[in-house]
């Protein structure tokens, strides 16, 4: 699958790297940016990739099967409509568009085509903790959800960050998290502005507290605090009829339920525990071999040493006594 990535700023460049070196079954065939030079530099590093100056031409190009939009929000409407026009699937970083009217226009146009082509980049739905939380709720063990507490904290923001951006760029994630976890729409919202953090840029209302109510009456509150100076913290707690569950405490999903227990799940097997390790092992090995046999993982010597220790271990298994491990001198083997 050949992908055009439009917009290669921080986020877009990340996506180019992702598609090129971590995703199976796709490659970046076209890049575009309003800074032409940047697009050309990136294209030069990727085999079979070209920079195209005009974003609409990039979308239309026959060498493009699908599109990733990482361009500024105000350009999304036109670019999304072009993708729909050409019948090309598009993964669009949030926001869909910058106002309700144009968003609705895009929704309607796609609906008229009767074909699902647009995916919005609400990536938290793919995070393993959110996925576990959603599965826990859908499983019904905690009963119906009643309340959602969220915290969204950034260590710092650029000086240009203003109060409305806290809502549009930060809160927007919790808006989607709410809709994702609860499968219902949000009916009303209130923003509370406490006394501001002295470290916040002049004029920025920070922290902010968003209080939302869903159509069925569920309560949601979100602490938005983008100048904490600490780290990136995203926390989500669902309080339900029969218990509560929290993610984002850096300790996995912690659940509280009757009869008065708190805790989490132990990784059930080696696939869950070490699946990431196997994937990383293989990706690094493939990259090392492809870049000229630069394999740097555990060596044959490591395998030999392990065998020698296990051999002595099996001997001790019988005797119960300490057994010396016998190995040849590594220096005696030229090149090992």
């Amino acid at each position: 699958m050949r992908v055009a990535v439009l917009g290669v700023g921080v986020m877009g460049a990340d996506h180019v790297a992702r598609l090129t070196s971590r995703i199976s079954g796709a490659r970046v065939s076209v890049v575009n940016d309003y800074i032409t030079e940047k697009a050309e530099q990136i294209a030069a590093d990727i085999p079979g990739c070209r920079a195209i100056v005009d974003p609409l031409n990039a979308i239309a190009d026959p060498d493009v099967d699908a599109v990733v939009l990482a361009t500024p929000g105000p350009t999304h409407e036109k670019q999304l409509l072009a993708c729909l026009e050409h019948g090309k699937p598009v993964l669009c970083e949030k926001p869909l568009t910058t106002d309700i009217e144009t968003s609705l226009a895009v929704v309607k146009r796609e609906a008229e085509l009767g074909k699902r082509l647009i995916q919005v980049g609400f990536m938290r739905r793919f995070d393993h903790e959110y996925a576990r939380l959603k599965a826990l709720l859908d499983g019904g063990e905690l009963g119906r959800a009643l309340v959602l507490h969220c915290a969204h904290r950034n260590p710092a923001v650029p000086p240009t960050f203003d109060s409305a951006m806290v809502v549009r760029d930060s809160l927007v994630h919790e808006v989607d998290v709410t809709r994702f976890l609860f499968d219902e729409e949000i009916a009303s919202i209130q923003i509370v502005k406490p006394a501001a953090n002295p470290a916040a840029p002049q004029g920025l209302a920070d922290p902010q507290i968003a209080i939302m109510r869903t159509v069925s009456g569920k309560h949601v509150d979100v602490e938005l605090f983008v100048t904490t100076g600490v780290a990136y913290e995203v926390r989500t707690e669902v309080v339900a009829e029969k218990g509560s569950a929290m993610i984002g405490l850096d300790v996995g999903l912690v659940r509280k339920s009757a009869p008065g227990h708190w805790g989490g799940q132990i990784t059930p097997g080696f696939r869950e525990r070490f699946g990431q390790a196997y994937d990383t092992e293989f990706q690094r090995w493939v990259d090392a071999v492809r870049s000229g046999f630069n394999v740097d993982g555990p060596t044959a010597w490591d395998g030999y040493a392990a065998a020698a220790v296990c051999e002595a271990g099996v001997e001790s298994l019988d005797s119960g006594l300490p057994v010396e491990v016998t190995m040849v001198d590594r220096a005696s083997i030229n090149g090992a």
Copy 2:
């Protein structure tokens, strides 16, 4: 990079799936198994993949750039030597071979060739928790390591599992972990056999306690317990001159150090926190588009709904009062 996977039992089949759908830059061109039918079934599902009956032919095949060995241990020696013969990189599941002599022979043969071709499948070195623990030790903040406590627990093992397999198949991982973390060899080993778990198969010494000493005098103890009935638990604690650190408690790396603090690291930024989510988002999107435009992530409607809530939020930011969210009726849009 075209890879031959030899042995497509549980582990080998996992590796085939990994290389086919999660690893970028490689594909499985050849599979082999002593059960010919199984290899043929797997090959049939992968474009451009053949089954080859003889493992040595599979290694030699010109359509093969590199080899993954997931065959039984006793066949490793011959297969590894064949890989070396053909100059093909090989990722060999542990053990290297089943005894010290043949392991040493393989080490020597590779050394004679003067070319690093073999990687042994000690995948824990690629696990993010072990990697963080290693980095913490190498960073020097905790001083020199003195003691290593490990626990290796399985909920159950097949009835054929015997006492020596606890050493060869389970302890072998902690042997490599010890060598990896400490960068030194193990000098002696003692296996202690407490009264056995009644649930353990007749004749199986379980739990076992392995006590090892490294050449510089570091102490290592490992609880090996393969019939816990609970879950898969792998825990590793390093006690060092200036503090200790533990992984495997299902809560990330927990560190203790002066002045009397325990704790972990908050994910510093969105890349660390949500990198996995982005990767999963993209891989699923690519898979969905390739399988016929079956995109099922967040929809344009999700984008529209988020815009509507944020719009109301920005309004409340000014007034401080609750604002109703206004959206069109979804049912009014044909197909949305």
Copy 3:
């Protein structure tokens, strides 16, 4: 110090037991309850204790140095004024009185006397976790507090519990916690009523969300949920300029601060770690001796056995080998 306990329902009876068997330097000399019989039963079990029918007579009694009020709220005003009249210190369970006017009258009367006689039973200020949180805030390391998130959850309430009692009996604790932690008054309050828990008694708004603002603009939100079916959960998180700290997660005080760390404090010494154990050990020993030499703690045999193991341990310290522990047969010692 001779104490009169007025009201010996659940709470008052607890206080009688506390003063009688766990508090040093005080004894209960008088008890009173509107159910005369209950007071008499309790008095009968305590040496030197009488039941007095009229609460005001109990306060006035010359055998009373100080008073504990665990009577119903509506009786507090009259009883408090009587304590002030007689110049007797009183520890009054919350509420002070049941409305603002009478509370203010009590405040003014005590002020006129110019003598501090009344203490209100906001016991959370004496909880070790709240005390640590307060000390952390006052220490200044986290900077000025900005936001306070609280949760107050009960597994169940009596069927007579109504919506206003959630505010008056549950929220009142967080009101005092806010004032205690922040040393300032609360300026406004808003109660949000999400869709109710189906398990809540008919007509009870539960959960409720209280949103408060302090005079300096700090934001406080409190989830009040009294029919969780889980357990008793009281959680408090302060978000401050330079970090945050949370108590009530059943894991001690957890703090987050730059540079991106989360964690707690290890008990610094044996006094902090085992102070409770020493106190309990001594109280049980004193109680056992007083009740007729019924000592049931570790025996002389336990001391002997420990000595035998340590003796063998010291021998192994030299040899490094396992040493058998030699002890006489316990059955050979008549009575041990």
Copy 4:
């Protein structure tokens, strides 16, 4: 109950304070120390307390109902026998005596008297975490215990601390913990000496690893490390047939059991959660009243302020809108 405290070094002085101000039903009537002056200073501060120069006279004194021994170990034998002689209950700090023979002699003498008079100061049995662990094991939910892992870490020891003291003074606690948790004797012990911590005093084997086996074949290992430089850490993990449980991680008792869960218990009710707070509240109030009405807990004003906020809260409960809190100006009340 009148108690003689023999030995008023660090530990003994702690016990004097404990009996005087935190334990109900006992007082210190006699103190003794080989440094006569120290005993006299302490006696001077306690009403009704005398210093007695000779320890045996202190034991025999008619003003003494029971004895606490905090004297050096070598003096214990003679003092214990004197307590037995006079039929006085004695709480003896460990060790019982300093060698097996004298310990056995004490055991036999008490057995001959047929009266339980001696309690040894293994205070961990009274620690709430050990008590919970013991209750969990005795409850049978985890099945029979198989393995015990312990860590005993001190930040530092005096320069006179030698290798045998690690066994006699530190390990002795885990010896008793093992016997307490498992209700059986220890059959053998082995001490392993890893390469020493460079920060340990010259000649001190530190860390040490003790490996013990109980008579029924349970395995126990103890890491003893007394120069960690970090804090006071005491950790105990029991691995049993159906799960494991750990205390001492500064997060309460953490349990792992089928089906693959880890976690702890939420404090079930307000008594468990705030029992300590109530006790502390009352002890401080009693102390404050006794020392001259110096009450410094929550004031009547605190009660008034809470009432004012709750009043406004109840109003908001109806309207759902923010309500201003109305209070009189505190400065207007003379003395409040």
